[in-house]
C-alpha cells in the first residue's frame, strides 16, 4: 500500500482556499455566479457563495464564521455549524482545500 494523502477535517484553525482546478466566475449569460470544476458546474446559493468567497487562503475558519455572523447579524454558534458542515462537504469533494 502506498503512502496516502489524508482526508482533511475542518477545524477553527483551518485556512480554506479554492484548489487550482476550481474557480468562481460570474456568468453574464445567466447573470449568476458559477463554480467551475473539472466535470461539473455548480450554482451556489447566496450563503454558499459568501463562504466560498472567503476561502482566500488567508482567513481561518474561525475568522470566516465571525465575519459571516457579523454580516448577517447572527449568532456565531449557529453560523459555525453550517459553515463547518459546508466546508467539510466541499473538502470531501476536493472542491475546497483546507
Amino acid at each position: 500500500m502506498m503512502a496516502l494523502r489524508e482526508r482533511a477535517l475542518v477545524s477553527p484553525q483551518s485556512v480554506p482556499s479554492l484548489p487550482k482546478h476550481v474557480r468562481i466566475q460570474y456568468d453574464p449569460v445567466r447573470q449568476a455566479f458559477a463554480v467551475l470544476s473539472p466535470e461539473k458546474v455548480f450554482w451556489p446559493n447566496d450563503i454558499s457563495l459568501e463562504i466560498l468567497r472567503r476561502c482566500d487562503g488567508r482567513s481561518t475558519v474561525g475568522h470566516i464564521i465571525a465575519d459571516l455572523a457579523a454580516d448577517y447579524d447572527a449568532e456565531p454558534e449557529a453560523v459555525a455549524t453550517d459553515v463547518v458542515a459546508f466546508l467539510q462537504e466541499w473538502s470531501d469533494k476536493l472542491l475546497v482545500k483546507l
Binding site: 502506498m2 482526508r7 482533511a8 482546478h21 449569460v29 473539472p38 458546474v41 470531501d92
Partner: protein, 373 residues
C-alpha cells in the same frame, strides 16, 4: 407544454480524429475523418467565441488525440481569454517536450489522461501502441510538475476489469485529484467489438463493490467517478444529461451533434458550423429538437416518474438495439425488450469462450471502414 430552451453549459470539441492509439472501443465514428477535413485554427477560435457568447462555461478538448493539433496552445489561449474552463482529454503519448508547460501557460485548467490498463502490457495491447504506458506515466509527471490538476480516465471492459484496484493505486501514485472508472459504452468502435469487450457478470459485481469501498476509503483524498456498464443496469444513463439539454459536441469538420453517436440515427441530419452559427444550431436544428425535453417520448417513458431523471436514456442505444431512436433505452428494466440486453451479454460470453477470441479486436484505424463517396 415545453419548457423554455436554456443555454448550453458544456461542449466537447473533437479537434481531430488522428490518434497514435487504436483502442477498439473508441467513441469516434467508424468513418474517421482525415486531417484535410479538420477545421482550421481561425474557425475553431470563431466557434469557441460563439460558444462563450451562447453560455458555454466548459470546453473539453478531445479527439482523436487533440495534442496532434499544432495550434492547441492557441486554441486554449482563445478559450481562456473568454473565461471558459478548459479540460484537455489526452492519451498522453508522443507529446513533445515543453508542450504541456505551454498548455498550462496558455491557461489550461485541467488535464484528463487515459490509461488503457493499470499494467504496461495491458495499456500497450489495448491501445496497440508499444511503450504507451511508460509515455503516459511521463505525461502525468509532467502535468503535475506544470501544476495542472489531473484526472486519470480508465475505460473498463473484459480485458482490464480485474485491474480496477490497480487503477485506483495508479491514480493515487500519480497524485490525481480524480479517477474515472468508466465502463465502455457500446457505441462507435465499441459496438463493433462488443463481444470481445463485454465483461462477465461476476466481474461487474466485484467491480461495483471495489469501487464503493474505495470511494468510502478515499473520501477527501481522491474523487472516483464511476460509470457502470449499462447492459447490466436497471435504469439507463441520462445520456448527455438529456438530448440537447445543456451540452453538445463538435466533430473535427465542424458538424455539431447532440452526442458522439448521433450520426448513427439515419432519420437525422446535422448542420455544420460555418454555414450556420452555433446559436442557430442550438435553437433551431431539427436534429437537436427531435428528442429534446419529454414531448417526443413514447410509453413507457412518457408516463414514467423518472422521465426527467433518465431523459429516456440513450437515443443511439435505442436505435442500435430497438431499431427505433424514439424507443425507451433497452438498458431500462421498463423497456419491453430489456431482456435483449441479457441475451447480448450471454452471446458475448459464448463468443469469448472460443479459443483465440481475444486476438480478434477490430482496432480503430482510419480507412478500416471506407468513407462513403
Amino acid at each position: 407544454m415545453s419548457e423554455p430552451l436554456l443555454p448550453p453549459i458544456g461542449m466537447l470539441a473533437e479537434l481531430t480524429h488522428r490518434c497514435p492509439l487504436q483502442c477498439p472501443y473508441c467513441s469516434n465514428p467508424l468513418e474517421l475523418l482525415k486531417a484535410n477535413r479538420e477545421l482550421d485554427t481561425q474557425t475553431w477560435l470563431d466557434l469557441f467565441s460563439q460558444a462563450a457568447d451562447l453560455g458555454i462555461l466548459q470546453v473539453h478538448l478531445s479527439g482523436g488525440e487533440p495534442t496532434l493539433r499544432r495550434d492547441l496552445e492557441q486554441l486554449i489561449a482563445g478559450l481562456s481569454a473568454r473565461g471558459v474552463y478548459t479540460n484537455l482529454i489526452t492519451a498522453g503519448v508522443g507529446i513533445a517536450e515543453g508542450r504541456i508547460e505551454a498548455f498550462a501557460e496558455a491557461g489550461l485548467d485541467h488535464l484528463q489522461l487515459s490509461f488503457q490498463g493499470a499494467r504496461p502490457a495491458t495499456t500497450d495491447r489495448i491501445g496497440n501502441h508499444k511503450g504507451g504506458h511508460e509515455k503516459k506515466l511521463e505525461t502525468a509527471r509532467r502535468a503535475r510538475a506544470a501544476g495542472l490538476p489531473l484526472t486519470i480516465n480508465a475505460p473498463i471492459h473484459r480485458h482490464n476489469i480485474e485491474e480496477v484496484p490497480e487503477f485506483i493505486d495508479l491514480a493515487l501514485s500519480l497524485g490525481a485529484e480524480r479517477l474515472e472508472i468508466a465502463n465502455v459504452q457500446y457505441a462507435g468502435w465499441a459496438l463493433t467489438n462488443r463481444d470481445q469487450l463485454m465483461p462477465e457478470r461476476a466481474a461487474v459485481d466485484r467491480q461495483a463493490e471495489i469501487v464503493a469501498a474505495a470511494r468510502e476509503r478515499l473520501t477527501g483524498i481522491m474523487n472516483i467517478d464511476f460509470v457502470p456498464p449499462d447492459y447490466f443496469a436497471i435504469y439507463p444513463k441520462p445520456c448527455m444529461g438529456g438530448w440537447a439539454r445543456d451540452a453538445f459536441m463538435v466533430t473535427p469538420d465542424g458538424t455539431v451533434l447532440p452526442c458522439h453517436a448521433a450520426q448513427t440515427i439515419p432519420s437525422l441530419s446535422f448542420e455544420r458550423f460555418g454555414p450556420h452559427s452555433l446559436a442557430e444550431i442550438w435553437t433551431d436544428s431539427p436534429a437537436f429538437n427531435a428528442f429534446r425535453g419529454t414531448d417526443w417520448m413514447q410509453q413507457p417513458c412518457r408516463s414514467c416518474e423518472r422521465r426527467e431523471i433518465d431523459w429516456g436514456g440513450c437515443r443511439c442505444q435505442a436505435m442500435a438495439i430497438a431499431g427505433d431512436a424514439a424507443a425507451t433505452d433497452p438498458a431500462c428494466a421498463k423497456s419491453p425488450i430489456h431482456a435483449r440486453m441479457a441475451m447480448l451479454i450471454d452471446e458475448a460470453q459464448r463468443a469469448a469462450a472460443v479459443p483465440s477470441h481475444d486476438e480478434q479486436f477490430v482496432y480503430r484505424r482510419i480507412g478500416v471502414v471506407t468513407e462513403p463517396a
